[in-house]
Symmetry: C2
Subunit: 236 residues, 2 copies
Amino acid sequence: MCTAFHNASCLNCQARFGSILFKAEKCNLEEIEAAKVCSIYKKGQVVFQEGAYPFGIYCVNTGKIKLSHCGDDGREQIVRLAKPGDIIGYKALLSAERYTASAIAIDDASVCFIPKDLFMSVLQKDASLSFEMMRIIASELRKAEVKITHLSQKPVRERLAETLLFIKETYGVESDGFTLNVRLSREEIANLVGTATESAIRLLSEFKKDGLIELQGKKIRLLNTDEITRTANLQD
Amino acid sequence: MCTAFHNASCLNCQARFGSILFKAEKCNLEEIEAAKVCSIYKKGQVVFQEGAYPFGIYCVNTGKIKLSHCGDDGREQIVRLAKPGDIIGYKALLSAERYTASAIAIDDASVCFIPKDLFMSVLQKDASLSFEMMRIIASELRKAEVKITHLSQKPVRERLAETLLFIKETYGVESDGFTLNVRLSREEIANLVGTATESAIRLLSEFKKDGLIELQGKKIRLLNTDEITRTANLQD
DNA sequence: ACATTAACTTGATCCTCATCATTGTGCCGG
DNA sequence: CCGGCACAATGATGAGGATCAAGTTAATGT
């Protein structure tokens, strides 16, 4: 399955900057360090599964994770992309319910696990951490609501352009300044946009024909970000 | 505009049970009580407007409030329905950004305003309150993600059925046990479902023909909840 | 290297649903 | 009481996009 080991210190963690956990008071952070377990997941492996009960939260150390709902008909809807420093699995934990989404590694990833009891107790006593958590969740909620609006009002073409920009914003680009720094299948892109795989493919080809992007296998190069933004028709 | 006055005590507030504020420690609650201002909004009046900066949060005392995004083309998308005891406007406040949604009274409503500085300072020191806040926001986020999935995967018919059940769950029914306890225009229902007004009207007529509901002006009676649930095709 | 499967691509078709247009109904002020 | 207006209902039409089908390329294992 996956290799698990204790990480000596969060201070060595690649993702220590930008991680919410570093908003915690020092003593609490040390407590977390002592208890957390770091695991390696290979591309495609499941970190946690929709329907299961949570035993703690996860903090992405390296790699990329997708969080996706499984629709009734089995089609997946990607609701979030997590990068190093992000925590995942907090919603289920906070509401003490089952996971409503699965977390799957897009790349090989290393993810820290923090046991439920510990995290909850730290959260209860560490106002700074819980305040920061709140801000993060609130910001996710904002994004989700915008997405709801766009899903019901914007055509697929605009949403795809928007998604490309979102991917760039999340995972960045390679050293050339153009190539998206993640390899997603066409199906995954479609599930991110909320459309059929064929539609996503077709529109990507159009974008390519229009000189907005360049395609080379799973590599996507955003050649003309301005024009993509215009295509996305964003005004908020 | 609207009548504003200091409410002597939250303890007299109709919405005191079920309100998150009562998770706050007593001394903090008293502080809030002293500072909050209660206002009356008539049906259709705006509590806060998308794009404006927040000066505090609002707690619904009586009445019903809709929270809606305005899409780029001007069409609104209702992202939330608030009832007595609910707090609104917290996302913008927490992230210190502009409102991304407007809050508008569906009914005549009385809403308490709690100034930003006070609320934030209480939040910082009251772990119990901020923990509860977190849970509420996390739960909203869950709902939003499910909605995203359904928007991209379910047909309008199912989503309308789902919305009717959601309205019932949120505002309940009148004493007859069937009539939804809120008057929404067809357009508002459509904006909740995420579809065109005409489509919502058409499907409501179908539901009526199929004996699922009864229509009488803006009154909607859910005659056969089981069958509506089946129509919504929920399995999660 | 080859076989086998998975992922991608393109084309054709169908259907849901948005849009436009028109008529009908309730509601309020004059 | 009646015009005026907003909202509701219904019909006609077309476009966007899902689905099905078939062919192509890339990836994977043996």
